[in-house]
C-alpha cells in the first residue's frame, strides 16, 4: 500500500480552503456576526433585571431595553441571510472541486477498476461503491469546511463573553473553565473508537450501495435465474450488518455529545452553588441580572464547547474520508508500478485530490463563462505510425499468477496483426497493458523508435483508438456517443458509420443519430453496439485501430463487409497518396475467425500469458497446435 508521505487532515483542509480565499473570508466575517451577535442580548437582559431590582448603573427604562433587544435580533437575521448565501456558494465550490478532481483522477488513472483498502488487502471497488465516495465523503468534507468559519465565529465570541463574565465575577467564571479540560480529555479518549466505528459503518454502507448497484445492473440475470428471493435475503443480511455498525457509530457520537452537555449541567449546578453565597450577601456582589447573564452566557459557551467537540469528532471522521479518498486515488491495480511504468506516488494523488482546478461556473450576476474547450486530437509528424514495438510486456493481476509475461510485439505501418489464443490466455490483458489501461510491471514500448513513457496518455486518438469486447455507451444521443466531443463534419461521421456497416441500423432508428442510447435510452443489440463502437473509433481516423474481438457479436456477412470496407480504405491510401483521405490505418485485433487470421500479416498466438507461436497463418497451421483446432 502506498501510504508514505501522507498529507495530514489539516493540510488537506487548508488546501481546500485556499481554493476560494476571498469567498471564505467574506463568509467567515458574516458567520462571526451570526454566531457572535447573541452576546448583545445577554447584556441587555442583565440590564433589564438589574433595572427591575434597582441595581442598574444605566438609567434606561425597561421599555427601551426591550426595543434594543429587538434591534439586535433584526441585525442578526440580516447577517444570517447574507451568511447563508455565501455559505451555500462556498459549500458548493468545495464539494464540486472534490468531485471534479475525483472524477478526473478516476478517468485518468490506468486500470479501469479503482481499488480501495479493506483491512490489509486491496479490493476492487464496484461503480456503485465509488458513488459513495462522491456522495458521502465529499459531503463530509464539505461539512467540516463549512463549520470551520462558524466555529471561529462562535469561538471568538465565547472568548468575548468570558471576558465580560470575568469582569463580573472571577471565581464563577473560572469555575466554568474546569469542564472544558474534562471535555477535551473525553474527546481525546473517544477519538480512536469514533474513527474505527465511522470507518466500519462507511464500509457497511458501501457494501449496501455496491450490492444495489450490482443487483440492478444484473436484473435480467437474476430474473432468469429465478434468484430474486435469495438475492434479497443476502441484501437483508448486509443491511442488518450495516444497521448494527450504524447504531454503534451514532450511539458513540451521542455519548460524546451528551458527556459535553452533562459537564455543562454540572457546571450550572456549580454556578448555583457558588452564586448562592454571593447573592445571599445583601451587599449584592452578584445581582439577579448578573445571574441571568451567567446562565445566558453559560449556555452560549456550552454551545461553543459542544460545537467544538462535534467539530473535533467530525474532523476525525473527515480524516477517515480523506484517507479513503487518498487510498482510492493512489493505488494502482498492480499495487506498485514497475520501474518504467507510470509512476504514481501517493503524495501526487493526495495533492491531486485538492488541486485547485477551475469549475467553470457562471458568474453571480448571470455572467456567462465559456466551458473549457474539448481537447482536440493533436496531430503532427511524429503521430504518423511507422513502427510500434514492445518488449517484455509483463503484467500480473495482483495476488494471482494470471496475466502476461515477456510478450514482444512488432507492428509495421499498415499491417494487420491478430492476437489469438484460447480463453484466459491473456489476449485482452495484452491489449490493456499496451494501451496503459493496466500499468506495466515490466517492459518497454516504442512508437517509431521513441520510448513511450506514459502509455495511458499516449495511446489515444489520433494515435490509436480501442473497442473493448463489451463497449459501453452513455445516455445521450447516438451522435454524441460516437463523436464523444469530437468536432467533425457530418460527412466524416457518415463515412465512419458506413465503414462500420452501421448505416442501415442508424436509418432504422426512429430519431436516427439523435436517438438516445445507453442505459437510459434505446436498446441496441450486441452487434449494433460493437459496430457503433467501431464507428466511434473510425471517426477519429487513428493510426492504430485496436479491436478486442470485434466479431464476437457480429454475424459472418456483416463482419466480412466491415473488413472489406476497412481494407478498401487502406488500399485507397496506398494506391493514391493524394486521395481525399490520407488514412493508412494499422490494425491490432483479437480474433479467432479463420477468415481474419488468413488475411493477417502477422499472428501472435498466446498461451498462458506467453507467446506460444507467431508468424503467418499458413506456417502456423502446420506448426502450432493451438491454431490447428
Amino acid at each position: 500500500m502506498a501510504a508514505t508521505a501522507k498529507m495530514g487532515g489539516w493540510q488537506f483542509l487548508w488546501r481546500m480552503i485556499s481554493y476560494a480565499p476571498k469567498l471564505y473570508l467574506i463568509d467567515g466575517f458574516f458567520w462571526i456576526l451570526i454566531e457572535g451577535l447573541p452576546v448583545i442580548p445577554g447584556l441587555i437582559i442583565r440590564e433589564f433585571f438589574n433595572t427591575l431590582t434597582g441595581s442598574s448603573q444605566l438609567s434606561l427604562s425597561p421599555w427601551s431595553l426591550v426595543a434594543l433587544l429587538l434591534v439586535a435580533e433584526v441585525g442578526r437575521i440580516a447577517a444570517l441571510f447574507v451568511g447563508r448565501l455565501t455559505k451555500t456558494e462556498h459549500r458548493f465550490l468545495m464539494s464540486s472541486l472534490l468531485r471534479r478532481n475525483l472524477l478526473e483522477r478516476l478517468l485518468f488513472r490506468p486500470g479501469a477498476q479503482p481499488l480501495a483498502a479493506s483491512g490489509e488487502t486491496l479490493q476492487t471497488v464496484s461503480p456503485g461503491e465509488v458513488i459513495s465516495y462522491f456522495r458521502d465523503d465529499a459531503h463530509q468534507i464539505e461539512e467540516i469546511i463549512a463549520w470551520t468559519s462558524q466555529i471561529v465565529g462562535a469561538g471568538l465570541f465565547a472568548l468575548g463573553s468570558i471576558a465580560i463574565l470575568l469582569s463580573v465575577n472571577v471565581r464563577i467564571t473560572l469555575f466554568i473553565f474546569l469542564p472544558l479540560i474534562a471535555m477535551l480529555v473525553v474527546v481525546q479518549q473517544a477519538e480512536t473508537r469514533l474513527k474505527w466505528y465511522r470507518r466500519a459503518s462507511r464500509q457497511a454502507t458501501q457494501q449496501v450501495t455496491g450490492l444495489i448497484g450490482e443487483i440492478f445492473s444484473s436484473t435480467q440475470a437474476i430474473k432468469v435465474a429465478g434468484a430474486e428471493t435469495e438475492v434479497l435475503d443476502y441484501f437483508r443480511k448486509i443491511n442488518e450488518q450495516r444497521r448494527q455498525m450504524m447504531v454503534k457509530d451514532q450511539l458513540l457520537t451521542a455519548l460524546v455529545k451528551s458527556v459535553f452537555q452533562n459537564i455543562v449541567s454540572i457546571g450550572t449546578g456549580g454556578i448555583l452553588l457558588l452564586s448562592s453565597t454571593s447573592m445571599q450577601v445583601s451587599a449584592g456582589t452578584l445581582t439577579v441580572g448578573d445571574f441571568a447573564l451567567f446562565v445566558y452566557y453559560l449556555s452560549f459557551v456550552t454551545y461553543f464547547l459542544s460545537f467544538l467537540g462535534e467539530s473535533i469528532a467530525l474532523f476525525k471522521q473527515t480524516e477517515v474520508s480523506f484517507e479513503r479518498l487518498e487510498v482510492l486515488l493512489s493505488n494502482t491495480p498492480a499495487g506498485e508500478s514497475g520501474s518504467d511504468g507510470v509512476k504514481e506516488d501517493s503524495s501526487f494523488s493526495s495533492s491531486a485530490l485538492v488541486a485547485h482546478n477551475p469549475l467553470y461556473l457562471n458568474g453571480f450576476c448571470d455572467r456567462k463563462q465559456p466551458l473549457p474547450p474539448i481537447e482536440k486530437p493533436y496531430r503532427d509528424d511524429s503521430t504518423c505510425l511507422q513502427e510500434l514495438a514492445a518488449f517484455n510486456l509483463t503484467y500480473h493481476y495482483p495476488g494471482t499468477h494470471w496475466g502476461i509475461s515477456d510478450v514482444n510485439l512488432k507492428i509495421a505501418r499498415g499491417s494487420l496483426t491478430v492476437i489469438t489464443g484460447r480463453i484466459g490466455s491473456g489476449k485482452t490483458t495484452l491489449l490493456r497493458v499496451l494501451l496503459g489501461l493496466l500499468p506495466l510491471q515490466a517492459g518497454t514500448i516504442y512508437w517509431n523508435n521513441r520510448k513511450v513513457d506514459d502509455p495511458a496518455n499516449f495511446f489515444v486518438p489520433p494515435r490509436s483508438a480501442y473497442t473493448p469486447q463489451v463497449p459501453k455507451f452513455f445516455s445521450t444521443s447516438l451522435r454524441e456517443n460516437i463523436l464523444l466531443g469530437l468536432e467533425k463534419p457530418d460527412l466524416d461521421l457518415q463515412n465512419a458509420i458506413t465503414m462500420a456497416v452501421f448505416e442501415r441500423d442508424v436509418a432504422d432508428l426512429d430519431d436516427g443519430l439523435e436517438t438516445v442510447v445507453g442505459p437510459r435510452g434505446v436498446r441496441l443489440s450486441g452487434g449494433q453496439l460493437q459496430r457503433a463502437a467501431a464507428a466511434r473509433m473510425f471517426v477519429h481516423q487513428p493510426e492504430l485501430l485496436i479491436f478486442d474481438d470485434l466479431s464476437s457479436a457480429l454475424d459472418v456477412e456483416t463482419e466480412q463487409t466491415l473488413w472489406s470496407r476497412l481494407f478498401a480504405a487502406r488500399k485507397v491510401s496506398t494506391e493514391n497518396d493524394a486521395a481525399v483521405t490520407n488514412w493508412m490505418p494499422t490494425f491490432l485485433v483479437v480474433s479467432h475467425r479463420p477468415w481474419v487470421l488468413r488475411r493477417a500479416d502477422h499472428i501472435i498466438v498466446l498461451k498462458d500469458g506467453k507467446v506460444e507461436a507467431q508468424g503467418k497463418y499458413k506456417n502456423l497451421l502446420n506448426t502450432c497446435a493451438e491454431i490447428q483446432l
Binding site: 434468484a227 447573592m279 445571599q280 457562471n362 442505459p519 454475424d555
Partner: protein, 602 residues
C-alpha cells in the same frame, strides 16, 4: 397547507408496527426527558427567590444539587432515546430498502432499461436514508415537543393567567407561521434531489465505461459534461438552501418577539407588584424553554420537507406496476418441454417506456404505428420436446427477444406461447426460471464469493453439486488455483477471469438448475475455438433429455440442431427440420451454408 398525513401515517404504521417494543422504549425515554425539562426551571426560580430573600444555605445547596441531578438524568434519557431511535430508524428503513429492492426487482425489464443502477442506488438507499430521521424522530419528537409546549404553557397559566395567555398566543402564532412556511421549500428540495440523482446516474455510467472513455480520448469531453451538470446544479442548490434560510430567519425573528413579550409582561407585572423577581426570571426562562420544542418542531418539519420529496418518489416507485400479468398457478411437467408459438407479435415500444414515473428525465421515443415497430411479427412454430432448435439471423433480427419472451421478461402483445401445453402466462412465476435456463452474451458477476456467484446466494445447493458442475465444464483446474476455493471472493474485475471463463461460470449456473428448456443466446460468442470445443461436450450433456434453443449467427454453433429457424427483421423466413433444409438447395439455410462455408471449414 397540504400535509399528506395519510401517506405518512401509512408508511409509519407499516414500518413501525413491526417493532412496537423498541418504539415504546423510545417514547418512554423521550417523554421522561421532557418531564424533567419542565421541572428544572422551577428549581431555578425557587433558588433565586430563596437567595434574594436570604434563605438558608442548606436549602440553596439542596436546590443546586437537585438541579444537577435532574440535569444528569435528562442526559441519560437523551442517550437512551438516541439508541432506541437509531435502532428503530435503521430497522424501519432497512425494511423499506428491502421492500423497494424487491419491488424493483419484480418489475419487468422495460423499467430497468429506463433507469441506471446508479439512479436506483439513489432511490433505494438515498431516499430511504432521508426517511431514516423521519422514522426515528419525526412523530415522536413532534408529538413529544407538542406535549412539552403544552406542559410549559399550562405551568405558565398556573403561575399567572396573563403571562400564560400572552405566551400561548405567541406559541400558536409562531407554530402556525412556521408550518405555513413548511411547504415552501418542498419543490426546491425535489429539484435538488432530482439533479443529484441525475449526477449520480451520469457518474455511474461513465465510471463503468472508463476504458472506452480513456482509450478513445474522451476524458475532456466527459469533464465538459460534468461542468455542464455543475452549472445547472448550483442555482438549484442555492434556491433550496434559501428556502431553508427563510424558515430559519423567521424562527429567530419569532423568538426575539417571544422574549420581548416575556419581558414586557414581566416588567408590567413586576411594576404592579404582582410577582417576585424569581417569577420574572421563570417567565423569561420558560420563554426560552419554548424555543427548544418550537425549534425541534421546525427542524423536524425541515427534515420532513426533504422526507416528503422522498416519500413522493418512493410512492411513485411503488406505484410502477409490472407490465407482466401475474402468473397463474400451473406447474410445468418434469422433463423436456415442448415449445409452441402461436401468432406471436411483440414490440418493445407499445405503452412500454411511458410507465416510468413522472420524473423520467429523458423523453423516450414515441412509437409510430408502422409495422417496423414490431420486433417479432406473427411467429408461429412448434418445437417438440427434447429437440434442439438452431435460431439464425442477423443482429437485430429478434432472436434475443424471442428468448426473452420465453422467460417472460416481457409478454407478447399478440399471440400465445406455450411450454408443454401450458401458456406462459398461466405458469407459476417462480416456476418459470427454474424450468427454463438462459445463458446470455453478458455474464454478470457479483462481488461476493465464487459459491454465491454460482448459486445466486441459494444456500440450499451443496458444494458437491457445484464441484460436479465445474468438473463437467472443465473449470476444476481454475477452482483449485483459487486461494480459498469456493469461498474466494470474485471482484467485479474478477481476478483475471476472462470473458470466456465467465461464460463457463454462466453455464455452471444452468447446470445447477434442472431446466426442461435450455436457451443458449450467443452463448459461445466469446469463446475461442479451442475452448468452444471443450464445452461442446458440456453442452451435449446440458441438452441431454432437454429441449434446446441455440441462438447463433455462426453456422458452426448450430451443428447439433434438429430444426432450424431463420429470422429476419422479426419475421420468420424459414423453419423446418435441419436435414430437409440442408438438402433443399432453394432454402435460405442451404444458401447460408454456402456463403458461410469458409468459416465453417478452415
Amino acid at each position: 397547507m397540504k400535509i399528506p398525513l395519510k401517506q405518512y401515517w401509512n408508511l409509519l404504521a407499516d414500518y413501525l408496527n413491526r417493532q412496537w417494543g423498541r418504539v415504546t422504549l423510545l417514547a418512554i425515554a423521550l417523554f421522561g426527558s421532557i418531564g424533567l425539562q419542565i421541572v428544572n426551571p422551577q428549581i431555578l426560580s425557587y433558588f433565586i427567590d430563596t437567595a434574594v430573600a436570604g434563605g438558608s444555605q442548606t436549602s440553596l445547596f439542596a436546590a443546586a444539587l437537585l438541579f444537577t441531578g435532574v440535569a444528569l438524568v435528562t442526559q441519560v434519557l437523551a442517550v437512551a432515546a438516541t439508541y432506541f431511535g437509531e435502532n428503530v430508524a435503521w430497522t424501519a428503513t432497512n425494511a423499506l430498502r428491502a421492500d423497494l429492492a424487491e419491488h424493483c426487482l419484480k418489475l419487468d425489464l422495460s423499467f430497468h432499461k429506463s433507469r441506471t443502477p446508479g439512479e436506483l442506488v439513489e432511490r433505494i438507499d438515498g431516499d430511504a436514508s432521508t426517511l431514516s430521521r423521519f422514522f426515528s424522530q419525526f412523530t415522536i419528537h413532534v408529538l413529544g415537543n407538542i406535549v412539552l409546549l403544552f406542559g410549559i404553557l399550562v405551568v405558565l397559566l398556573v403561575e399567572d393567567w396573563r403571562a400564560g395567555l400572552a405566551l400561548s398566543l405567541f406559541t400558536v402564532t409562531a407554530l402556525s407561521t412556521l408550518i405555513r412556511l413548511r411547504s415552501l421549500a418542498v419543490p426546491y428540495w425535489a429539484a435538488l434531489r432530482q439533479i443529484s440523482a441525475e449526477f449520480f446516474g451520469f457518474l455511474g455510467e461513465h465510471l463503468a465505461g472508463t476504458e472506452d472513455i480513456r482509450a478513445n480520448g474522451a476524458i475532456s469531453y466527459v469533464m465538459h459534461r460534468f461542468y455542464g451538470i455543475l452549472r445547472r446544479w448550483r442555482p438549484l442548490y442555492h434556491k433550496a438552501r434559501l428556502a431553508g434560510t427563510v424558515l430559519w430567519g423567521t424562527t429567530i425573528g419569532l423568538f426575539a418577539i417571544g422574549n420581548v413579550i416575556a419581558f414586557a409582561v414581566g416588567a408590567y407585572l413586576w411594576n404592579e407588584g404582582g410577582i417576585t423577581i424569581g417569577k420574572v426570571y421563570l417567565l423569561f426562562h420558560y420563554t426560552n424553554l419554548l424555543r427548544e420544542p418550537i425549534e425541534q418542531i421546525r427542524t423536524q418539519l425541515e427534515n420532513l420537507q426533504q422526507a416528503e420529496a422522498s416519500i413522493y418518489r418512493i410512492r411513485d416507485l411503488f406505484q410502477v406496476k409490472s407490465k407482466l400479468s401475474v402468473g397463474g398457478n400451473q406447474r410445468l411437467s418434469k422433463g423436456a418441454l415442448s415449445v409452441t408459438f402461436q401468432n406471436v407479435s411483440f414490440s418493445y415500444h407499445e405503452g412500454g417506456l411511458r410507465t416510468g414515473s413522472r420524473e423520467n428525465l429523458l423523453p423516450t421515443s414515441i412509437p409510430n404505428p408502422q409495422s417496423s415497430e414490431w420486433v417479432l411479427q406473427n411467429i408461429s412454430f412448434s418445437l417438440p420436446a427434447g429437440q434442439v432448435l438452431g435460431l439464425l439471423g442477423h443482429t437485430g433480427s429478434g432472436k434475443t427477444t424471442l428468448a426473452r419472451l420465453l422467460l417472460r421478461l416481457y409478454d407478447p402483445q399478440i399471440g400465445t406461447i406455450r411450454l408443454g401445453s401450458i401458456a406462459t402466462y398461466e405458469i407459476l412465476l417462480t416456476e418459470l426460471p427454474q424450468r427454463v435456463g438462459l445463458v446470455t452474451q453478458d455474464v454478470q458477476l457479483f462481488q461476493t464469493s465464487v459459491r454465491n456467484n454460482l448459486t445466486f446466494f441459494n444456500s440450499q445447493i451443496d458444494d458437491k453439486q457445484i464441484l460436479h458442475a465445474l468438473e463437467v465444464l472443465g473449470l476444476s483446474q481454475w477452482l483449485y488455483s483459487l486461494p480459498n476455493g469456493l469461498d474466494t471472493p470474485l471482484g467485479s474485475d474478477s481476478c483475471g477471469l476472462s470473458a470466456g471463463q465467465a461464460q463457463l461460470l454462466a453455464f455452471a449456473r444452468i447446470f445447477l438448475k434442472n431446466p426442461g428448456l435450455v436457451i443458449l443466446d450467443e452463448a459461445s460468442s466469446r469463446l475461442d475455438p479451442t475452448t468452444e470445443n471443450l464445452i461442446e461436450q458440456a453442452v451435449d450433456k446440458l441438452l441431454e433429455g432437454r429441449t434446446g434453443i441455440i441462438i447463433a449467427h455462426r453456422l458452426a454453433t448450430v451443428q447439433r440442431a434438429d430444426r432450424i429457424m431463420i429470422l429476419e427483421n422479426g419475421r420468420m423466413m424459414e423453419y423446418g427440420v435441419c436435414e430437409d433444409l440442408r438438402n433443399n438447395s432453394n432454402s435460405r439455410f442451404a444458401r447460408l451454408l454456402k456463403t458461410g462455408l469458409t468459416d465453417v471449414l478452415v
